[in-house]
């Protein structure tokens, strides 16, 4: 009785404010679309600019539509013009990034899964402090480790190489991957593990038979997070590599900054899109997992 009364008076209230609501909703959509255009604007400009010739760029405005589907600047950005020295293009650096990302994502995810597993299912005295110890690695400004890292890579003989960057990204990914897996495994009932232990299952058997089969969502979140972070990294890439070993973001920056006689904005924009497209594809395909990683790994910048 009480409930039905409440909901009917609620409906009346909704009725009464119908007209104010209509106005409000138009306003709402107006603002939302206004912001959507602010966010879309640079992407639109990048795409149309990359399809224009330099002549069109000088004639038209940022927003003007390209005369046709002119893919030449894309070809130049990806494969160069085919003359020797000073012809920088993205293809080799794109592969550098792939060679760097795949092992670094794999190792950091694997190590994170293991530490997350131990920290939640094989708890020991002081494990909370160990977690805090690892977690702190999420927050340090990397400037505080750049100098010794550069020296260490030199001593190990892997400075300016993809291997060196794999090591760097694996190590500094561990705090995040540990955080992800620890927070996921903590909600898995420990009784499951206890029962398996009584049945005589060992450390690795429990991981592979019980934990791993239910880990798909967190593995996806972690892999996407690590992939995006490592693909988009510039600080490590530009500090620890140059020339041929550089990853794609470094190469993009060098291309855009290199002062040849004429600035080719169409090639710049095509290059920027090429460097951004892998992470954009992941975002569009797996946005849900991307956001989940973002909000729980949010501690990082």
């Amino acid at each position: 009785m009480q409930d039905s009364l409440k909901s009917s008076s609620y409906q009346q209230l909704e009725q009464k404010s119908k007209y104010t609501n209509m106005f409000l909703r138009w306003f709402l959509y107006f603002i939302l679309i206004l912001f959507a255009s602010y966010f879309i604007f640079p992407l639109y400009v990048m795409v149309v600019t990359s399809l224009k010739t330099m002549e069109e760029i000088r004639q038209g405005t940022l927003l003007s539509w390209p005369s046709g589907l002119n893919l030449e600047s894309w070809a130049v950005a990806w494969g160069g013009r085919g003359y020797g020295a000073g012809d920088t293009f993205l293809r080799p650096y794109f592969w550098n990034s792939i060679k760097m990302v795949v092992p670094a994502v794999f190792f950091s995810t694997f190590i994170g899964a293991m530490t997350g597993y131990v920290l939640t299912k094989w708890r020991f005295k002081g494990d909370q402090w160990v977690f805090l110890f690892l977690l702190f690695g999420c927050f340090i400004p990397f400037q505080a480790i750049l100098l010794p890292m550069a020296r260490t890579l030199g001593v190990l003989g892997i400075s300016n190489s993809v291997v060196g960057l794999v090591l760097v990204h694996t190590v500094y990914g561990i705090p995040f991957t540990t955080l992800f897996f620890r927070n996921y495994y903590i909600s898995v009932p420990t009784e499951l593990v206890k029962a398996a232990r009584i049945d005589g299952a060992g450390f690795f058997k429990i991981f592979f038979k019980i934990l791993l089969p239910i880990s798909a969502p967190i593995i996806v979140v972690t892999v996407i997070w690590q992939f995006t972070q490592i693909w988009n990294d510039f600080l490590f890439g530009s500090t620890f590599s140059f020339g041929e070993a550089a990853p794609i973001q470094v190469a993009l920056n060098n291309m855009v900054l290199s002062s040849t006689s004429v600035k080719e904005y169409n090639v710049d924009m095509a290059s920027a899109i090429i460097a951004g497209v892998p992470t954009l594809i992941v975002y569009v395909l797996a946005g849900k997992y991307f956001i989940r990683g973002l909000t729980s790994g949010a501690v990082k910048g």
């Binding site: 209230l13 709402l28 959509y29 603002i31 939302l32 912001f35 959507a36 966010f39 879309i40 640079p42 992407l43 400009v45 038209g60 940022l62 293991m114 530490t115 131990v118 920290l119 094989w122 805090l132 690892l134 702190f136 927050f139 340090i140 400004p141 400037q143 505080a144 480790i145 750049l146 100098l147 010794p148 020296r151 190590v171 540990t178 060992g202 450390f203 693909w231 988009n232 600080l235 530009s238 500090t239 973001q249 993009l252 920056n253 904005y265 710049d268 924009m269 290059s271 920027a272 460097a275 951004g276 954009l280 992941v282 569009v284 946005g287 956001i291 909000t295 949010a298 501690v299 910048g301």
Partner: protein, 291 residues
């Protein structure tokens, strides 16, 4: 022996991660701290030199500009990201059509690197062919928008690009926060005659205190570390007008070979981050323990 191995297997599995972080994070930070108290130039020297590098740092005009820029950038970046993020989150929370699409649009810049973002905005903001030309071609012949090449204003172009990249993220945080509030609370307030505005202003936003806190920490963290965006957009220029601490640190270390001085600047950044993060971690842990 086997028994011991079996008993300690979990700890053995943990060891590499703990060892790596111990060495590469803690060891390295301590090394940098030590070096900041020496008179190291190109190569590190290990005799202590006191606070000399810190005195040099705070007497350097470039560093003071960097700190000044960081304060300006952080304040504006925080305000715009949070205000835009909250507005978008509240508006999206009104049972909007195509909410999924709009959310995707607001958040996609987060998937891009700051180098890509910087490259795009550099092109848009360049006075000869970018926005300025667009408005002039449209008939606003005196329209001027040349912040990118203006010493006084260039720092604000970094704010524009930074907000563009990160505002959607704050939106996602607040939207998740708003969605976790029980519907009943809002309904009850409406029955009591509260307008939608009052519901948000007096009830929901105050409930979002932890989200404000999280956003604050993350955004300050991003801004202290901001490096890529400046490299791609202005390279610290025109002149040194858009230098920020992270850029100062790498330039001093790798172009000027002033290892001790750059270590001191890195430690200043480290302390700034710690001042924000330690209270945050402390409160997070307390919340977790209270549960």
């Amino acid at each position: 022996m086997f028994k011991w191995l079996e008993k300690n297997l979990p700890k053995i599995v943990m060891a590499p991660a703990v060892g790596l972080i111990g060495w590469f994070v803690y060891g390295f930070v301590l090394w940098t701290l030590y070096i900041s108290f020496t008179n190291s130039k190109i190569l590190p020297k290990y005799e202590l030199w006191g606070f000399g590098q810190y005195e040099k740092l705070w007497a350097s005009r470039k560093w003071l500009i960097a700190v000044d820029n960081l304060l300006i950038f952080t304040a504006l970046f925080l305000i715009f990201c949070v205000v835009i993020g909250i507005i978008l989150a509240i508006f999206l929370d009104q049972k909007i059509r195509a909410e999924g699409l709009l959310r995707t649009i607001y958040l996609y810049p987060m998937a891009l690197s700051f180098i890509v973002t910087g490259t795009a905005w550099k092109w848009i903001l360049n006075p000869t062919l970018g926005i300025q030309k667009m408005f002039r071609d449209w008939g606003f012949e005196n329209f001027t928008f040349d912040w990118l090449v203006d010493r006084e204003m260039a720092i604000y172009t970094i704010v524009i690009a930074g907000v563009w990249q990160s505002a959607g993220f704050v939106m996602a945080l607040f939207l998740a926060g708003l969605r976790s509030v029980e519907d009943e609370i809002v309904k009850a307030a409406k029955i009591d005659g509260a307008s939608l505005f009052t519901v948000y202003w007096k009830i929901l936003l105050p409930m979002m205190r932890p989200v404000f806190f999280t956003s604050f920490v993350i955004l300050v963290h991003i801004s202290i570390k901001s490096y890529d965006l400046i490299v791609a957009l202005t390279q610290g220029g025109p002149g040194i007008s858009t230098t920020m601490p992270a850029l100062y640190m790498t330039q001093t270390a790798f172009h000027k070979s002033q290892v001790g001085l750059s270590a001191a600047s890195a430690m200043m950044m480290f302390m700034a981050v710690a001042a924000v993060i330690i209270p945050y971690l402390y409160s997070e842990l307390r919340r977790e323990n209270a549960r």
